[in-house]
Symmetry: C2
Subunit: 370 residues, 2 copies
């Protein structure tokens, strides 16, 4: 049986006291964004697939996206949930009270469970106040280590920082060619790019640029935009990576998180690891640097599961997570042991058996056979 919650797309009233809204699992992020904006609020999570991503799917996968460094992932937005569990029991706790210690936190448990415990039918979301001012800056620097230093400086000095995205010249070349646009900087071609966005009740431009002053002499190029059109152009260089890479080949996609202190060296190491396994492969790296989250997309005729394994083993050795925001699903099940001990996997299986004893919900996802 294939279940769909797409028709559960109701949008409840936005509560101005709590800044919360209850929506059906089938509502798209874009629909909820429009609904919240009409009351002066925003959904704290944003991602490029906003037109098709449903709130239920975003909860089931604990979606991340570009603003996690400011507001946390989907789990941090879910203040109430309604779901049908594998037991047939319906749990509904949609009051959205921030202080409510009356038993186990089922909302957080269901968030990120990939549909293996229950089918989410409605969600109570916390919203954040709409930020009327928004500044985007694209920096061009020599390498990932400098990009991370810039990021650390901005995180300290600019509390309004909302996104910090990393990409490289090889991915940018694909984007420029795919879109038929001009590169961001006319007179030079930096190797490494950091896209920063700050948002607030007042213009955050000065704060953002002042925070960069400490590392200013290591920044080769800077483009700053405050109007929506020019900001969108800067974002396009980053957001078009997925479609440009897909157009260049069928990528193996790995989605990993590194501790921020090890992010820069990972970016260098992972290319060597990939070409060590598949000499003609090309590894494109981009992602949400603010969270240490890197998407590693590998294309080439000799790319196999061995590449996936080598990259994920490197991630595990560096203390990272083998799945940042894409989850485990069926494709990464065989690698879950790299990030989770036998004791943890046993615990996961016990929870699965408790809430879905017949194993009817997404039976092949997440949990490897014991």
């Amino acid at each position: 049986v294939v279940l769909s919650t797409r028709r559960l797309d109701h949008l409840g009233p936005v509560d101005p006291f709590s800044g919360q809204v209850t929506v059906g699992a089938g509502a798209t992020l874009e629909a909820v964004q429009r609904h919240a904006a009409a009351s002066g609020f925003e959904v704290a999570v944003d991602l490029a697939a906003r037109g098709s991503a449903t709130i239920g799917g975003m909860v089931a996968t604990n979606a991340g996206g570009t603003r996690v460094l400011r507001h946390g992932p989907m789990r941090a937005q879910v203040v109430g949930i309604e779901a049908v569990l594998g037991t047939g029991r319906i749990v509904s706790h949609l009051g959205g009270l921030l202080k409510d210690n009356t038993g186990y936190d089922l909302a957080s448990l269901l968030c990120g469970s990939e549909g293996t415990l229950g089918v989410v039918t409605a969600v109570r979301l916390r919203l954040v106040g709409a930020a009327p001012f928004r500044t985007t800056a694209l920096l061009g620097v020599a390498d990932a280590a400098i990009a991370v230093d810039c990021l650390v400086a901005v995180r300290r000095g600019a509390p309004t920082l909302e996104a910090a995205e990393l990409f490289f010249d090889d991915g940018l070349d694909l984007v420029v060619e795919h879109l038929g646009v001009t590169p961001p900087f006319a007179s030079s071609r930096p190797r490494t790019y950091l896209l920063l966005e700050a948002a607030g009740a007042a213009d955050p431009t000065d704060e953002l640029l002042a925070a960069l002053a400490a590392v200013g002499d290591r920044i080769d190029e800077t483009a700053v935009a405050t109007d929506a059109g020019r900001r969108a152009e800067l974002w396009r260089y980053r957001e078009a990576h997925t479609e440009a890479i897909n157009a260049a080949g069928v990528p193996h996609k790995l989605d990993v998180t590194l501790p921020l202190g090890g992010l820069a060296s990972f970016c260098d190491e992972v290319r060597d690891v990939v070409t060590g396994v598949a000499p003609t492969a090309r590894a494109f790296l981009f992602g949400h640097a603010g969270d240490g989250n890197v998407h590693v997309n590998v294309i080439g005729p000799d790319v196999s599961d061995d590449v996936d394994r080598a990259v994920l083993e490197l991630v595990a050795r560096r203390g990272g997570s083998i799945s940042a925001e894409h989850g485990i699903g069926t494709a990464k099940k065989a690698f879950l042991h790299l990030g989770r001990s036998d004791d943890e996997l046993d615990t996961f299986r016990r929870i699965k058996a408790a809430l879905d004893p017949a194993g009817i919900l997404n039976p092949n996802a997440l949990l490897p056979s014991s």
Copy 2:
């Protein structure tokens, strides 16, 4: 067997990249606060019992306290956990990666589980940047409805708001007598008090007072303090409520959350409900208004469990939570059904049976017999 984790009091290094620290479950909040401050950080949760409250206990109870409206409860601070489950399995996931979708969120599940699923041994905490400037304002107003209007205005206009505490003249009288201090306002005696505190990288006084301008003509008295000594005096009126009430009798303590839109009317209603059941009882109300969290302390010779029942039934009728931050324990087990359905209780029991199949962990707490 009585387990203690008090000797697990190690304090790991503060990671400046992530702003996180790993500490043993037996470390007191105060010890972690001092440790974090040495690196320019703060623990986001604060509460009056900081000298004796351990981090493990605060996780097990999902502690709240005075700053939840700004930073969330303990669950929002826990980015990694180590625990021994009732199965004997040891789960340890202390990397603190903000994007990590590799299975069920055991940290959130253990947080607030009241020791019924596992014994927490270590915790990875997110910290927040230390706020060098702090302003406290005590407002005197006519009633709780005006206090809530002030709160809503400040929440909208002052993002630096960190605490909003409510109390009333009858509780203040006990405090003034118990401590032997002078009342906060020399020339008048307002019925209702709202204590606000804002904190930030710059002096938040102007922002706080400007945010109150919209409701200014309904505020009868205002005391503002920025120096630590005077701020502590204002806080003392609020924080001494528990000891002053304990000195006046043996209170029945109820700890509830109301939706903010219904908080003011609840404060009026609950007094009538209490005296309806116990005519000579005195109900003292105080708490964390910013979260809708009210502590109802009832003293008097004719106070019985019937008072508890009547108050908690009122809370349930008004869409509130029967336990805000104190949890269920053994004392509130009989009332858990007021806030949780049979399906939810069944789900809780299944989770308990999965992770503590022999029922050896805190066996009489939280879950009522089925």
